[in-house]
Each structure stands twice: as structure tokens, then as C-alpha cells.
């Protein structure tokens, strides 16, 4: 079998292709309609029509336009479309990509796959059968998927004697239904795909129809414009460090950004200024046109220099002035019009997995590039997606093909928008065991509630609590982050900043330092050499236990002796905890000048003996996991570089 879909009749270059999905109840004639359009717009491969006609004649079958489409063997056998197909065709005005979505309920996930990428939809209703279950379900799903531009073809008018009364009856009934979805269209087309009535040519059998033919209706539609007029949402896919650049790569879902803009990254709430937008091939700084078409950036504000702007739809990469910590999942916005940050939200969820959605089951929510564990904590209403009646429910699960109104709680903060305000950040999927099981849209989120996040996640498990179970519940492994460095090098400051960073990620950090150890556990120890050794030993043991309990323990002690640090490492390893030694490095002069507790002054004055750096040695770490230089890096930068190394090891 040759390609039926390989015809390209490109319209003028640059004119955007319109992606249009055909949906409707099974047997209402979608495939016939598509076959007819391909044929009537001369979009079929040479000889295809004749070939299929010959094949039908040979088999003593009546030729049907649908045969042109049903490309896979199984479909010819079952006579239903089992998966989304995409077929190009062309009118005088522009190129089209037809998405043929299966009508059978069994294949709803395929219909969603096809329809979600559409600019526009054609809803097909057979005149003889009228509005059926799938006619409604599909319209509802289109509204959930965000396809708002559509027309309705009342097909098979030949089976209804081309009756205007029948057409008006169906139109009236369907309009009422569409209104309940807040969907609206003026375009209802009485048609017969089989006989080519009102498809590309105006029907002579239905002169009472004064509206457009299907081809005219399609030509009047417009490709979905990328929403540049909405607030900026730049969703980070990855951070690349292939060379000396640190490029934050991602897609601008809505809005636009420019070099020099201050961006807020949620959920960390850190800000930085866009230093550059990176391009390959490198854009010559010369005026546009010097290298001709090959380097043309075609979507930009003409008032800004070339390559300095990114707009909605763009997959871009930026560098920042300040090296704040950024990772996949972060959403950049401008400080005005920031998204919602929450760990609890309301949604309408459609379910497509065989296994029902269950309360309290642990799912993963994926929203843009974020991925967070979550549970459905309440299921309030279940909607019958054909009658669209919402029924309060006491059920604790949502079956396949049902739509539920529910509340989701996440284990770490998630960044989102209400779907009606900003669709790309207002929709999500739930994933179970690597499979996408359902999709949902967010409603009723409160924008002013930012930052007020309380976690009340409860998880149960049975039997002995293993390290794996602990880390599964905590979402990370336990670890000891051992900060070492001179007094005044910045250990405590960094420890606290790091603790805060981990905490807002819904992790379980805890800082052990002189203040909370010396006053209690080690109150019987002085500063004699053997007491110092014992001090560090006890700290090491406590850190091990806390790491075993699943915490990320951050210790902030000078710990000047290699042997002590080595023993701390061994103790942690005994407890199977990650041990990460961080050398907080600053020159002695700098530490002495900072002298936050006036200890250097006292040591110089001889009031304190054996003070590290003055009259006691500091043994430099030999091979620490991380070095931060606090005389060159800000606290944020130091913490960012620790996070970059630390977070991957906690997964």
C-alpha cells in the first residue's frame, strides 16, 4: 500500500498550517468526510482514488470515501478508526493538517491525543441518528482541552431527505447543549460527505442553507496564536553547562521576556536579571540581513535588537546575571503577575486509565515541566460526560472516562495558574507507574495566598520502616552535609540558608551547630583537645542517627582536623547516609576582618588559646565534595552551588 498521506501541496510559504480535528460519534461519517475533502481538494496521491475504486470493484464492494483513510489493516477489518491519524490537505487559502480522532469510546485516549494539538475542530453529527453520547462527550472534552474554535457538520443529510426541518432540529438541540459548556459557534453546516454536498461545493439539494460550505468554514478559521499578551510563564526544562555558559533552557508558554528583564523563579522565589538569550548559530551582532535568511529570527519585536526577545511558543535558552539556583520545573515570571504557588488545588479531572483514580493513592502530577508527588484528597462531584450532569458523590474513586471535580494535595509546592486565566499553567496530567492516567484543569486558585503553604501530608505504611520507605515518604534520602572552615568563613550563614532552601522544597533539613549542641548534649565538654575530639565524635553520631531518620543534616563546625572529618564520614557511612563535605573557604584575613563573634580579637589579645588559624592549625580538606569561596561568592551563589551538587545525590 502506498502512502495515502504523503501529498504535499504547500500553500504560500510562511502561512501557518491550521490543525483541525474531526470528532463525532462512531459511524457518523468522519472518515468519509475526510476522504471526501481529500478527494475534492485534489489532495490525494496520484491514482489513489482510482486504485481504491478498483480494489473495491475487485472485491465486489461499494466504494466508500472512508476507505481512503483506513490505512492500517486492522481498521479495514474493524471498520473503525483506532488511532489518531494526521493527514495534510490544502485549499486555495492555506495548508491544513487533519487530525482524525477515533470516535469509539474505547479509544478516548487517542481522541484526546489528537484533539489536544488542534487549532480548531469539526464536530460531526449524523442527520439520521442526531446528537449521541459521543457528540456530547467530545464537545465537552474539546472544551476541557482548550479547543474553542469549531464548526458543526450535520452529515448524512442524504439519509434525512436533505430536510431543513431535521437540520434545524439537530442544530437547536445541540446549541442548547453547547451553551452549557460555554462553547459557541455560529457555523452549522448541513452536508452529505458521501455525495459531496456542502463540502467544497455548494449543495444544490439544500438551497435553503445560506451559511458556508465546510471548506469555506475552515478557511474562515485562524491558527491558534501563541498567547503573547498573557503574563510571562517561562518553564524551565533543563540547565545546561556544556561550556562556561550556564544556560537555562525552556519554553515560553505565555507572554514574552527580554534581555534585561528581572525574572522571579517560582517556587524558590529567587530573582535575577536576564543577561542574554542564547542562540545557535550565533547571531551576528550586525544588523539583520547581513547573513540573509539563514539567521532570520522571525518572531520578534521590531523595536528591540535582534535575538534579545523571546515570545510565547519559543523554545529558548537564557543566561542570568546572578547565579541563583534554578532547576527543571521552575517557572519564571515577572514579579507582577506571578503564578500561584500552593500544595493544594481544585481541579476537574478526566480519567482515561483502566484502573480507576483512587483517593489517597500516591500519583505524580506533571504540570508543564514540574513533577511532584500528590494525592487526591477529596472527590466532590462526578460528572456524567454525556449528559454533563454533575452529581455530588461519596465515591472514593473515579472510573475510566469519568470526569471528577476534586481536590489534589501535593507533597512539595507546585506552581500553577487557573485554567481560565492562563491555560498552559492551568492544566496537568496525573501519572501512575510511568503512565499518563488522566488530565485536569485547575480552577478557583487564589493568587494572593502566595507563600502561605502548610504541609499536612499524611502517608501510611505497614511493617518495619525501611530506609527506602522513609526516603519514599520524605521524597529524598537522608544525608550529612558537613561544612568545615575557619571561624567567620560563613558556615552558619550558609547552613541556615541551605536549610531554608531545602525546607521550601518540602524536604527535611536540620542544622547542627555549636549553639544547639554545646548547650545540651555536649554541655559537659570543654575546649581541651580531647574534649574537642569528643565534641566532633558526638556530633558525628547524632548526625548519623538523624540522617538515618531521613533528615538532611547540615553541620556547621570548624572541625579543623582531617582525622575528625574522616571519622565523621566513616560514622555516616556506617549508617548508610550520604556524606558530603563542603569546604567553606575564605582567606584568614577575610575571616579575621569579619570576626562576627569578636573571637579573633580575643585570640590576638591572648584571651583565647589554641584558636584555629591563630595558634592552632586548620588542616585543609584534601578532597571535599564541594568547595565554596565565600570571599568571591555571595551566600545565594554558595548555596546554589551546594544545591547543584547536593540535590541529585538525595534522589
Amino acid at each position: 500500500m502506498h502512502s495515502i498521506s504523503s501529498v504535499k501541496h504547500p500553500a504560500s510559504s510562511g502561512e501557518a498550517t491550521l490543525r483541525v480535528v474531526f470528532v463525532g460519534h462512531v459511524d457518523h461519517g468522519k472518515s468519509t468526510l475526510i476522504g471526501r475533502i481529500l478527494s475534492d481538494t485534489n489532495s490525494l496521491p496520484e491514482g489513489k482514488l482510482e486504485q481504491v475504486q478498483r480494489a473495491c470493484a475487485a472485491e465486489n464492494m461499494e466504494f466508500e470515501f472512508a476507505f481512503l483513510l483506513d490505512a492500517l489493516l486492522e481498521e479495514q477489518e474493524q471498520n473503525i478508526t483506532i488511532d489518531t491519524t494526521q493527514i495534510p490537505f490544502k485549499t486555495a487559502k492555506r495548508n491544513y493538517m487533519i487530525i482524525d480522532a477515533p470516535g469509539h469510546k474505547e479509544f478516548l485516549k487517542n481522541m484526546i491525543t489528537g484533539a489536544s494539538s488542534a487549532d480548531a475542530a469539526v464536530l460531526v453529527i449524523a442527520a439520521n441518528e442526531g446528537v449521541q453520547e459521543q457528540s456530547k462527550r467530545h464537545a465537552y472534552l474539546l472544551s476541557l482541552l482548550g479547543v474553542r474554535q469549531f464548526c458543526v457538520v450535520v452529515n448524512k443529510m442524504d439519509l434525512a431527505d436533505y430536510s431543513e426541518a431535521r437540520f434545524l432540529e439537530i442544530e437547536k438541540k445541540y446549541r442548547v447543549f453547547l451553551k452549557t459548556l460555554n462553547l459557541e459557534t455560529d457555523v452549522f453546516i448541513p452536508a452529505s460527505a458521501r455525495f459531496g454536498e456542502n463540502i467544497t461545493a455548494r449543495s444544490t439539494k439544500m438551497k435553503w442553507h445560506h451559511g458556508p460550505t465546510l471548506a469555506e468554514a475552515l478557511d474562515a478559521m485562524t491558527p491558534m496564536a501563541p498567547p503573547t499578551d498573557l503574563p510571562l510563564r517561562f518553564c524551565v526544562q533543563d540547565v545546561y553547562k556544556f561550556d562556561d555558559r550556564r544556560i537555562i533552557a525552556g519554553r515560553i508558554e505565555t507572554g514574552m521576556l527580554q534581555v534585561g528583564d528581572e525574572l522571579v523563579f517560582s517556587p524558590a522565589n529567587k530573582t535575577s536579571i536576564v543577561q542574554s538569550i542564547e542562540h545557535w548559530p550565533v547571531i551576528p551582532s550586525a544588523v539583520e540581513g547581513s547573513r540573509g535568511a539563514s539567521f532570520k529570527i522571525s518572531h520578534r519585536d521590531p523595536s528591540t535588537p535582534i535575538g534579545m526577545t523571546g515570545v510565547a511558543g519559543g523554545s529558548i535558552g537564557i543566561t542570568l546575571h546572578e547565579q541563583i539556583f534554578v532547576e527543571r520545573g521552575y517557572v519564571a515570571s515577572h514579579s507582577k503577575d506571578a503564578p500561584i504557588e500552593t500544595n493544594r488545588f481544585h481541579a476537574d479531572l478526566f480519567w482515561i486509565a483502566r484502573q480507576p483514580a483512587r483517593l489517597s493513592h500516591l500519583y505524580t502530577v506533571r504540570l508543564a515541566t514540574q513533577e511532584v508527588k500528590c494525592q487526591i484528597v477529596s472527590l466532590d462531584e462526578v460528572m456524567d460526560s454525556s449528559s454533563l450532569e454533575r452529581n455530588p458523590t461519596k465515591a472514593d474513586q473515579l472510573a475510566r472516562n469519568e470526569v471528577g471535580r476534586l481536590t489534589i494535595q501535593t507533597r512539595a509546592p507546585i506552581v500553577l495558574d487557573n485554567h481560565d486565566r492562563l491555560p498552559p499553567l492551568g492544566r496537568f496530567v496525573l501519572v501512575d507507574d510511568g503512565m499518563i492516567c488522566g488530565g485536569g484543569i485547575v480552577y478557583d486558585g487564589v493568587y494572593t495566598d502566595r507563600g502561605a503553604i502548610k504541609s499536612k501530608n499524611i502517608f501510611w505504611s505497614e511493617g518495619k520502616i525501611t530506609a527506602q520507605a522513609r526516603s519514599a515518604q520524605h521524597g529524598h534520602r537522608g544525608a550529612v552535609v558537613w561544612l568545615t572552615g575557619l571561624s567567620g568563613s560563613g558556615k552558619s550563614t550558609i547552613a541556615q540558608a541551605l536549610e531554608r532552601e531545602l525546607f521550601i522544597r518540602a524536604m527535611h533539613p536540620y542544622v547542627l551547630d555549636g549553639d544547639n549542641i554545646r548547650h545540651g548534649l555536649n554541655s559537659n565538654l570543654g575546649f581541651a583537645p580531647e574534649d574537642r575530639v569528643e565534641n566532633i565524635r558526638r556530633v558525628s553520631e547524632v548526625a548519623k542517627l538523624m540522617a538515618d531518620a531521613g533528615n538532611v543534616v547540615i553541620t556547621a563546625f570548624i572541625s579543623p582536623y582531617r582525622a575528625d572529618r574522616q571519622r565523621a564520614r566513616s560514622i555516616a557511612m556506617e549508617g548508610n547516609a550520604e556524606f558530603i563535605e563542603v569546604f567553606v573557604d575564605a582567606p584568614l584575613e577575610v575571616c579575621e576582618e569579619r570576626d562576627p563573634k569578636n573571637l579573633y580579637k580575643k585570640a590576638r589579645a591572648g584571651e583565647i588559646r589554641e584558636f584555629t588559624g591563630i595558634d592552632a592549625p586548620y588542616e585543609l580538606p584534601v578532597d571535599p565534595e564541594i568547595v565554596v569561596q565565600t570571599n568571591q561568592q555571595s551566600v545565594d551563589e554558595s548555596v546554589a552551588s551546594i544545591l547543584e551538587r547536593l540535590l541529585p545525590r538525595l534522589k
Binding site: S5, S298, G313, S315
Partner: protein
Amino acid sequence: MTTRTHLDRLENQSVFIFREAYHAFKNIAMPWSMGKDSNVLIWLASKAFFGRVPFPVLHIDTTYEFPEMLEFREWATAHYKLNLIVKINEEARGRGVGYETHDPVTVTHELKTVALQQAMAQYKWDALITGIRRDEDPTRAKERYFSRRNAQFEWDYKDQPPEFWGQFATTAANGEHVRVQPLLDWTEVDIWRYIQRENIPIPKMYFARNGQRYRSLGCRPITKPITSNADTIEAVIAELETTRTSERAGRAQDHHERNAMQKLRAKGFL
């Protein structure tokens, strides 16, 4: 604000998919045939990763390659600084499998699909980035951006995972792999217009010499040129705007028997 063009939309989507794949899979490779689509892939990867292709590219060398293609391979490998892996199914060649003695479906299966399986067994990639397009063939039309293959390389096209809102099925069980297909939405003429816009280097065989040119490139014995005087990109595009024959019509293995392409693909052909 100027509106985005059709090619911008395609480019942005492909770059997005490249980055999703690079994030999702630790051990990834990109088959590279040196054909026009393959070179567009290299170009898009370079865009996605700012001037580098951060994973190996794999050439399945059937030993029936056109010499011009091998020359191009050498040039492009140096030009893009590619980490090139060349794989030949030595075992099948040793058994005498070849176009001289066997039918094209068998040879293509042995020298391409089985060679790929051998490379997969050796390198244990969990994802392959391919250049297939929906408009090439009806079976490809039903593909997903992220399309799973089982350990036997089989594609379960009857039960494909849903894919919407930029969310993909990015997991592969042990022994399985995922085909990542960033060019799925492109058409043949999109590819040419993009090559034109971006000045992407491609082998000269796509352009007419002595009244003939290749529209699709495969193994020497089974790839036939078409009659054409299109010796520039502009001329090729003009030709495609009026043609109604399919791109792969010159590729014998597709047409050897009814549904040959479907059979090849169900068995793991790209």
C-alpha cells in the same frame, strides 16, 4: 508583534522534544542516515543544545551506501564534532545476506533493523531519536512523539499511550526503549523550506544531475532516482509543490509486497 511562521512553530516544538528526551533518558543515541531529515535533526539538536549534539549519532552502515553519502558522513562528523558510531551487521554479511541474492524486505530487515538491534544490545540505549515524519507513510502517521518499543523492538500501535499538553510517556522498562520523534509533524516540503531557510548542509545527491535526482536516499541497489531537473533548493521546492507521487516511491523495500512498510515497522524498522 510579528506572528510566528509555520517553520518557527515546528522548530520550537522539535527543540522542546529534544530537550524533554535529553532530560528523560540517561542513555540516548540518534540514528543518522545522512539523509536530509537526518541532517535537519542534527541541526535542531545543535539548536536545542546550543552548538553541540550531546549524545552519540549512529550510522547503520548497510555496506550498500552511496560513496557520496560516506564522504558526507566524514565531512559532517568533523563539522558538527559528532560522536559517531558506525554499525554494520557483520554476521549477516558473513552469511551472504545481500541485495544480490535476497529480497529487499529481508535485506533491509537484516542490515538495518537487526544491525540496530545489535547496536542496542551493545550500547544499551534507553531511547533513540529518529527522524520519521507522519506524512511519509500511513503507519508513521499514527506515531507518537515518544513511542515505546518492547525488547523485541515491536511497536504496539493498537494500544499507544496518550500524549497531550506537552506530556509524554518517557519511561522504558528494562530492555525496552523509547523512540523519540521530533520531526513527526513536519512534511517533506517543510523539511526543504527549513533547509533553505537555515542553510543546512545536505548531500548533493538530492539535486538533479543529468536530469535525475534522488528524493529519498537508501541503499544503492534499491533506491531509484526520479526524473527531475531540480538542481537547487528552490527548484526542488517548486517541484514538490506540484508532485502527487509519494516520497518513498523510489524505495523498493516499501513496495515489495502489500503492507511491507507496516510489517517492517512492526518488526522494529524506524
